[in-house]
């Protein structure tokens, strides 16, 4: 319950910091770091006292604030031409930048919410489209996205409870990729040289996977490989369906 109160009030440590700056009517470019750090830590203590689950991010920002505060106490080294306080030298500069960026997105989020929203302000036609006698024939487009595919996979694995057994092997996927590409190229050309199969982007990894894919396809008897003479071009042929 109390945990939810915290979530309702602040969206994160930056949000809390912005709140303190606004409450104190402080210029964001000139944050009195000692005052703000004290109030920030007081707030964290309050949250702890209320037994709220404090997300680690709040503590990270507390450490950042304390670090900035300690740097502010150090004497500023004299610049050669006498200038002492340029932007880059201000220990607060990075934090100010981060706050401004977050503030801009917070405002953008509010603007999004103020738009005319589907299912809140406007509605689409409610009834499902009428069923009309269909005419079969052309290939229907498929609507899908990768997230639903991966979710389906994960759902299945959680039922199986053997996720480790199914951990995805990126190398294996790369190999499957090359096998598919080679079969696609050969479907068009019937035969190709190894160099042609390599294509234009020749990387060490690509050479290895192309070679492994050719070996795999030979093993599967999907292709045949010939070399007319030593050092002659290696030619790869697709094996016709028996």
């Amino acid at each position: 319950m109390s945990y939810e109160i915290k979530l309702d009030v602040f969206e994160g440590p930056l949000d809390l910091l912005l709140y303190l700056i606004r409450k104190n009517e402080i210029d964001i470019y000139n944050i009195p770091i000692a005052l703000i750090t004290r109030q920030y830590l007081e707030y964290l203590d309050l949250m702890k006292a209320l037994n709220l689950d404090l997300a680690g991010e709040y503590l990270v920002l507390a450490a950042t604030l304390l670090h900035i505060k300690s740097r502010m106490l150090l004497p500023v080294p004299e610049e050669e031409d006498g200038g002492t306080e340029d932007e880059a030298g201000d220990p607060r500069a990075e934090l100010v930048q981060q706050l401004l960026e977050y503030q801009a997105f917070k405002e953008a989020a509010l603007q999004l919410d103020r738009r005319t929203l589907l299912e809140r302000d406007v509605f689409k036609r409610g009834a499902p489209p009428e069923a009309l006698p269909g005419e079969e024939g052309e290939e229907t487009p498929i609507e899908a996205d990768i997230f639903t595919l991966v979710e389906a996979f994960q759902r299945m694995l959680s039922q199986l409870d053997q996720a480790d057994l199914m951990e995805i092997d990126l190398e294996r996927i790369s190999l499957a990729d090359r096998i598919n590409e080679i079969m696609d190229s050969l479907a068009l050309r019937r035969d190709m040289t190894f160099a042609e199969l390599m294509g234009e982007q020749i990387t060490r990894q690509r050479i290895v996977y192309t070679f492994l894919a050719v070996l795999e396809l030979m093993k599967l008897r999907m292709i045949r490989v010939y070399q007319a003479a030593s050092f002659a071009a290696i030619r790869i042929f697709i094996v016709g369906e028996e």
Binding site: L132, A152, Q154, I173
Partner: protein, 173 residues
């Protein structure tokens, strides 16, 4: 158009099922049954008069907009190209093929715990899956893999763009 008729126009348009007069009266309680029927008559005449692509019909004890029957040939053309969604069973089978390829049917059956014959056939027909070869074991069973169309449909440059399980855990954290 009178405001209360415009409200009915919006309600019937937004309703998922034919809208009954009783439901309309719950939202516009200042009217009795006869009053609502009067508004509906005006609304139906309005849509009749504008000679647009759809009109108001009384159906299954309620009111709904329907496209004009004589325009069905064009609407049918629209439906023919309507994107199809894949069933959960098809997605699961496709996921096994995508992540485990090249893979034989027996292995997909084992992972999914059901006979995937039907869904596999559907995926082959949709050209999302194809035969890529035969496994070098007794019986030389067919090996399946994904197609170029699979990459297109899921907007992937290549198979290495498939998210890994570790990444999936990351976004759920």
């Amino acid at each position: 158009m009178e405001e209360d008729i415009a409200i009915l126009d919006a309600l019937i348009f937004s309703s998922e099922t034919p809208l009954t007069v009783e439901r309309m009266r719950e939202i516009l309680p200042q009217y009795d049954r006869q009053g609502i029927l009067g508004l509906l008559k005006t609304l139906a005449e309005h849509h009749e008069a504008r000679q647009g692509g759809f009109g108001l019909c009384e159906i299954a004890g309620g009111w709904q907009f329907y496209s004009r029957p004589d325009l069905a040939p064009w609407v049918r053309k629209l439906k023919a190209g309507r994107p199809q969604m894949l069933s959960p069973a098809a997605l699961e089978t496709l996921a096994v093929v995508a992540y485990r390829q090249p893979v034989v049917k027996a292995d997909i059956d084992r992972v999914r715990g059901v006979d995937v014959g039907g869904t596999l056939k559907g995926l082959l027909e949709k050209r999302l899956v194809r035969m890529v070869g035969r496994k070098d074991v007794p019986g030389r069973p067919i090996l399946y893999g994904t197609t170029k169309r699979f990459l297109e449909v899921f907007q992937l440059k290549d198979l290495t763009e498939l998210p890994t399980l570790t990444e999936l855990k990351d976004i759920q954290a």
